[in-house]
């Protein structure tokens, strides 16, 4: 038995006879297609750092597709730009955000490495956000995607605190937690997440972990794969190729 399951069972035992059947996932059920079989898939994403050119199209497309507020501080996916200089100082910012005072141009001989890192919800296999949600509004589907039931979420923001990757925000209009869903409404129709579709360099690869022949299967065979913050044991399902150790 895994530790998490053990904890879960323990909780059930302690509260024996407690309230039953509360954990149905309404939102998910309503968007599910009839011919779609959740048990046949298990989704993940691959990102090749070397391919990303920081054009930010994925950010734009995601905001449009998923009604993410236009304000410059709500993102389901964003792209970070790293510049590591010869003296080992690191500059990071999020592209398209006129925030932090970061010089735009560095003299070439001072730059050791420079690259872009797309970020999004890692759809963790052991998601702390699901563990902490007091009402079960954040949940994991059978195909491995973490969703938020916006009809149940009470807006306590515990999940935002618990996510180590800053992937969640509180939607200012609906007042509930929101984050990347891998475009679940598209997946059930057999489409790709919109960020994957618009990427001009195919830096993002979407796939099914249950099929070795999927693009993701090939991606992980061809590259050395890393995930973010592995020490936290959240087991992310967003896999990076050519990831630099500076990225966290």
């Amino acid at each position: 038995m895994e530790r998490r399951d053990f904890l879960k069972n323990l909780c059930w035992v302690i509260s024996a006879g407690g309230i039953m059947g509360g954990l149905t996932a309404d939102a998910w059920a309503t968007i599910l297609n009839k011919d779609y079989d959740t048990t046949k898939h298990y989704y993940g994403m691959g990102i090749d750092i070397d391919k990303c050119i920081g054009c930010g199209r994925c950010m734009q497309a995601c905001k449009t597709e998923n009604d993410v507020p236009a304000a410059p501080f709500y993102f389901r996916t964003w792209v970070e730009r790293y510049v590591i200089k010869t003296d080992n100082t690191v500059y990071v910012n999020t592209i398209n955000m006129e925030s932090v005072e970061m010089p735009d141009v560095f003299p070439e001989k001072e730059v050791l490495r420079s690259f872009f890192v797309p970020k999004l919800c890692n759809q963790c296999d052991h998601p702390p956000c699901v563990q902490v949600c007091p009402v079960g509004a954040t949940f994991k589907t059978d195909d491995g995607v973490i969703l938020v039931d916006s009809k149940r979420c009470i807006g306590c923001r515990y999940c935002i605190q618990a996510c180590p990757y800053g992937a969640r925000y509180l939607h200012p209009e609906t007042r509930v937690a929101d984050k990347c869903t891998f475009c679940y409404h598209r997946l059930v129709k057999g489409l790709l997440p919109v960020c994957v579709e618009v990427c001009p360099k195919q830096a993002r690869v979407f796939g099914d972990l249950k099929s070795i022949a999927s693009p993701l299967g090939r991606f992980s065979r061809m590259n050395k794969i890393h995930v973010l913050k592995p020490s936290l044991n959240t087991d992310p399902k967003v896999y990076y190729a050519n990831l630099d150790g500076e990225v966290n």
């Binding site: 807006g155 990757y165 007042r175």
Partner: protein
């Protein structure tokens, strides 16, 4: 557009790199108020239980006051949480479909247990006889209120009163672990967030608990010094000295645990050490170093120690106790602030610090928090009217 303006304003105060979703702080001043209030409840209750369980005779005059204080604050405790929710109208879901792996889901149950089974029951049995007697002495609304509160019981035979006494004792014994649970649990909510190195610590519940005890004792001490003279009584110096000396020891224990926890956290953190020390030396310097540690702990500790050694005059002692009580409240409030707000000021990228701008008027703003901190005193004054903590003889000093 307002949002964009707010963003530009905030982003100017951000240091280094933070994840873009992190510019807004999620848990505001209301979440600072919440552990502060529950801390007072737990602390006041533990002071009261010193009388009932451990038979500390000198503290007897504070017993009922402490219980009523605990109740007044307990009644308000869920309000800051409720007001803070994005969708407060759904909060009942926490009872209907609690997710059993979530620490927060237990809130309602822990709360109800403590309020219903401990505080209300204990106060009921403590006051039952008096309520019956008082209701026969007065008329009108008060009479009926007292009758209702005593649940229309009429038995004041020796046997019944003896039963009350015993029951109070039993409830207190159950109450002590419950008080520990109530506040330790609040610490657990923070301590179990492993994504946040400022919070993630097994010591968190213990730290919360001991600071709760400190704040509760200090609050009851302050109230005792204010309320008793107001009701025409005289401050019992033996009692006050005893409360102060318990306070002194509690502060010492609390201080050592906090220091230990703090050092341990800094010592153990690896990738976060840089950002945490930056946090402490910049954004939290005032509230952590100055308010919490220097003014809220070391100074009162020093003063209380001086009082103990020097055998000062009564009037001077009273004054100093009062100042210490206030300083300690300030310190404990800062403690809560530093945990809750401090833990959100650094980015989980460990590369930058964000900032918290408290709203004035908004529902999660300063004014609401202030009102939430005042209401318990209003409730307490009503409770004191209805259920006087001291008998007439005690007030006139015989």
């Amino acid at each position: 557009m307002e949002a964009v303006q707010r963003f530009t304003e905030l982003s100017r105060q951000v240091m280094g790199f933070i994840y873009p979703n992190e510019i807004d702080i999620q848990w505001s001043i209301l979440i600072v108020v919440y552990p502060y209030i529950t801390g007072l409840v737990a602390g006041a209750f533990i002071l009261a239980s010193l009388v009932k369980v451990f038979n500390v005779k000198e503290l007897q005059p504070t017993y009922r006051l402490a219980m009523l204080t605990a109740l007044a604050f307990m009644l308000i405790a869920p309000l800051p949480l409720q007001l803070h929710l994005g969708r407060p109208e759904r909060s009942y879901e926490m009872f209907m479909t609690p997710n059993l792996t979530s620490a927060m889901a237990m809130f309602g149950f822990v709360y109800l247990w403590y309020l219903m089974l401990v505080l209300l029951l204990e106060i009921y049995f403590e006051y039952r006889r008096d309520m019956i007697v008082w209701s026969s002495e007065t008329t009108g609304l008060r009479k009926w209120l007292l009758k209702l509160l005593s649940l229309f019981s009429t038995d004041i035979s020796e046997k019944a009163v003896a039963f009350d006494k015993k029951t109070v004792k039993v409830i207190t014994i159950i109450g002590i672990p419950s008080a520990f649970l109530l506040h330790g649990y609040v610490g657990f909510i923070f301590g179990s967030i492993k994504a946040n190195p400022w919070w993630s610590s097994v010591m968190m519940p213990v730290v919360f608990l001991f600071s709760a005890i400190v704040s509760g004792i200090a609050m009851v001490m302050l109230l005792y010094m204010i309320v008793k003279p107001l009701l025409g009584g005289k401050i019992d110096m033996k009692c006050l000295d005893k409360v102060a000396s318990f306070l002194f020891y509690a502060v010492i224990v609390d201080f050592s645990i906090e220091v230990l926890d703090f050092i341990h956290r800094l010592y153990e953190s690896e990738e976060s050490i840089k950002i945490l020390s930056q946090l402490v030396s910049t954004k939290l310097f005032m509230s952590l170093v100055v308010l919490q540690i220097l003014l809220g702990m070391l100074l009162p500790l020093f003063v209380l120690a001086v009082i103990k050694i020097l055998k000062l005059q009564e009037e001077v002692r009273k004054l100093l106790y009062f100042v210490c009580g206030l300083l300690i409240q300030l310190g404990i409030f800062s403690t809560r602030w530093n945990v809750v707000i401090g833990g959100q000021l650094f980015s989980k990228s460990f590369r930058g610090l964000t900032t918290y701008k408290m709203e004035m008027m908004g529902i999660e703003g300063f004014l609401v928090a202030l009102v939430l901190l005042i209401i318990p005193f209003v409730i307490l004054s009503i409770l004191l009217k209805l259920l006087p903590p001291w008998k007439k003889e005690e007030l006139t000093g015989n």
